[in-house]
Symmetry: C3
């Protein structure tokens, strides 16, 4: 079974969409199988990380900015502005696809694991994630 999730992002940072995935999965009637998510863009990422304390998401964003800052002299690709190439680099380092076993109709996520879309561009975007379960 397949679907696509559309996520609107407010700019850089993590947007959780675990509930959208869980809700769709419940509707498919899938019991035991494998769920795969795939983000169809080159300047944002998927990420499974802690969804309890917002300070984790804030620190992840700070780390990304420090590891891959904008306006570096060695960057040549800046057609869409100073956030263009840093967004591609972050997207290269972080997951484009995630696969999660499904048992008894539920994803085998750990207690603190939430599924996020990580926006790397400065401005809001509409992002599409393809999903497959079988």
């Amino acid at each position: 079974m397949q679907t696509a999730f559309t996520i609107r992002t407010p700019g850089p940072g993590l947007t959780e969409f675990t509930r959208d995935v869980a809700s769709w999965l419940a509707g498919t009637g899938a019991r035991d199988g494998l769920l795969t998510l795939f983000v169809r863009h080159t300047s944002c990422s998927l990420l499974i990380q802690e969804n309890a304390d917002p300070s984790v998401r804030a620190d992840l964003q700070t780390f990304a900015r420090r590891l891959i800052p904008e306006n570096q002299a060695w960057i040549t690709h800046d057609a869409e502005g100073p956030d263009d190439m840093p967004a591609h680099i972050r997207a290269a380092l972080l997951p484009v696809s995630l696969s999660i076993p499904v048992t008894g109709g539920r994803m085998t996520l750990g207690t603190w694991q939430g599924i996020h879309l990580w926006e790397h561009r400065a401005r809001p975007h509409t992002r599409e994630i393809a999903a497959h379960v079988a």
Copy 2:
């Protein structure tokens, strides 16, 4: 077919569990298919890397410590100690899921590839990995 592997880690570093996976896979009778592993935590990772020379694993740990050191002034999430947020960042950068084609009943791992659990927390932990083959 599904199972869960439980790995006890002695603290930071890589613990190989290729044999556990291969042994379970052999018992399933699966011939041609896809094996997926998924770690159910936000402060450790899965990693496929060289399993021959222990210096590779040692240098990977040194790199992780240098790239994401503890006790940085910009870190705000430290509820569980100085290793808390660095562990989340390392877990964000490294794989939470791995998918390996299975051919003739065996994983298509290359000669030097071993499957590891990478512990990012300072203290020993018990970690669970969900597995699916179909």
Copy 3:
């Protein structure tokens, strides 16, 4: 259905092989399913990134060289030369497997997404990627 792709690399950098995958996929007759690629090496990676502007690929290579330079005093594993351990570290940070939903016989890649083999060793290599679709 399974196959293996063989990619010859000219040294460090990204080699796109989206067309090889699409062509094989078309021949399998698969309609709706999941395609998985798995690289059978510990010193190169798979990467989905922009395939339009070559400056993206050039900047990604520059970033990799800056993040993980050769000839660092803390590196102990150098049996195969100064590019040996940096290649393992880059392979640890970048994907070893990728999973892409297939809809109506086509991969659900976004407009700008191409599938690449990222060579991390200094010299040309022949690399093998296992593929599975079901």
